[in-house]
């Protein structure tokens, strides 16, 4: 076995410094070479993976291109469905609003509606009041705008309805 340590009689500060510098340099060189080898190895691995992935992607592109028209159809379906959903979600529920307005006492008839004012005719003012109370369940700001007695048994009324409750 080779003894790299200096002989006992040669141990002095200069030799200790010399020893550690040489040993340290060797260790550093070894670590450096290991690091270099590791980096090169990792780089080679990445390059290999890169080139094989590129080839695979190119092959998949060719395969997918064969289904281009099918893909376009699928995407058009998706877009059209989204547009339909959006329309259905955003269009005014006018039928429901009219259904709410139509909840009324049987003696009250609706003569007109312009989106704000309901023109009604009722057999007595109590029915008109009852109708306005029913409207209050579905709308905010329900105001009897006008109330006119016509003849002995008919009452005309204009009822303002705003802000449909959700």
């Amino acid at each position: 076995m080779i003894n790299l340590l200096p002989k006992k009689e040669e141990i002095n500060t200069v030799n200790i410094v010399k020893h550690w510098l040489v040993l340290g340099s060797s260790v550093i060189l070894a670590i450096y070479l290991v690091v270099v080898a590791g980096v090169l190895g990792y780089w080679t691995y990445l390059s290999f993976q890169d080139s094989s992935l590129t080839a695979e992607v190119a092959k998949l592109s060719t395969e997918i291109n064969k289904f281009a028209s099918l893909e376009a159809t699928v995407r058009q379906i998706d877009l059209r469905q989204k547009s339909i959903d959006k329309i259905l979600k955003t269009r005014k529920p006018v039928a429901k609003t009219v259904a709410k307005i139509n909840i009324r006492p049987s003696s009250v008839s609706i003569l007109g509606w312009d989106g704000t004012i309901i023109t009604t005719i009722g057999q007595n003012s109590t029915d008109i009041e009852e109708y306005s109370n029913l409207l209050k369940k579905s709308f905010d700001n329900v105001v009897i705008d006008s109330l006119t007695q016509k003849g002995s048994s008919n009452w005309d009324a204009g009822i303002i309805v705003k802000n449909e409750k959700p």
Partner: protein, 171 residues
């Protein structure tokens, strides 16, 4: 020269230092540059990997789809939302839900409905294909005047990246 011999050992650590310094700076352009190059390469590989995975999934889905079924689905949706403006279709739709007394582009007048009949007309309009929305309405004097929108949408031109995933097909 003989005087220098005891100090020759210094050359070794100096040489090691020089080898590391020169190889790092001269051969590869610095340690920072090496790290940057490797991380860029790694990033590229990860991107390609994602791209490959997306494409594999997409291809598998496409292979499992029936072209005729998809075309029928698109055709069916195009009945709900046509690809062009069809005013004559709107007119026939309006005639199918009530007695039309006037029609001008998107304004339709129905003959003397009372509010209950109007509700029925509106419910029928809601169920129509192609889709129609009622923008505004006026009821009175024996008629109902409706402002309607007949919905349509042209087929958009699509430019899609090959690796872009397909939309959700569960609907």
């Amino acid at each position: 020269m003989k005087n220098l011999r005891p100090y020759l050992w210094v050359l070794y650590p100096v040489l090691v230092f020089l080898i590391i310094l020169i190889s790092l700076t001269w051969f590869a352009g610095g340690a920072g540059e090496i790290i940057n190059t490797i991380s860029a390469k790694n990033e590229k590989v990860q991107t390609e990997l994602n791209k490959r995975n997306n494409m594999q999934t997409k291809l598998a889905i496409l292979k499992g789809l029936n072209k005729k079924t998809q075309l029928d689905k698109l055709k069916d949706l195009s009945l709900t939302l046509p690809i062009n403006n069809q005013l004559w279709v709107l007119l026939s739709e309006m005639k199918s839900v009530g007695t039309v007394s006037g029609f001008r582009n998107t304004t339709v007048e129905f003959v003397s409905p009372n509010s209950d009949e109007l509700q029925t007309i509106l419910e029928k309009i809601d169920a129509l294909k192609p889709l129609v929305s009622v923008k505004s309405l006026q009821l009175g004097s024996g008629k109902a005047k409706l402002e309607v929108i007949n919905h349509w949408e042209a087929l958009p031109k699509l430019t899609v990246a090959l690796e872009e995933p397909l939309p959700n097909l569960t609907k």
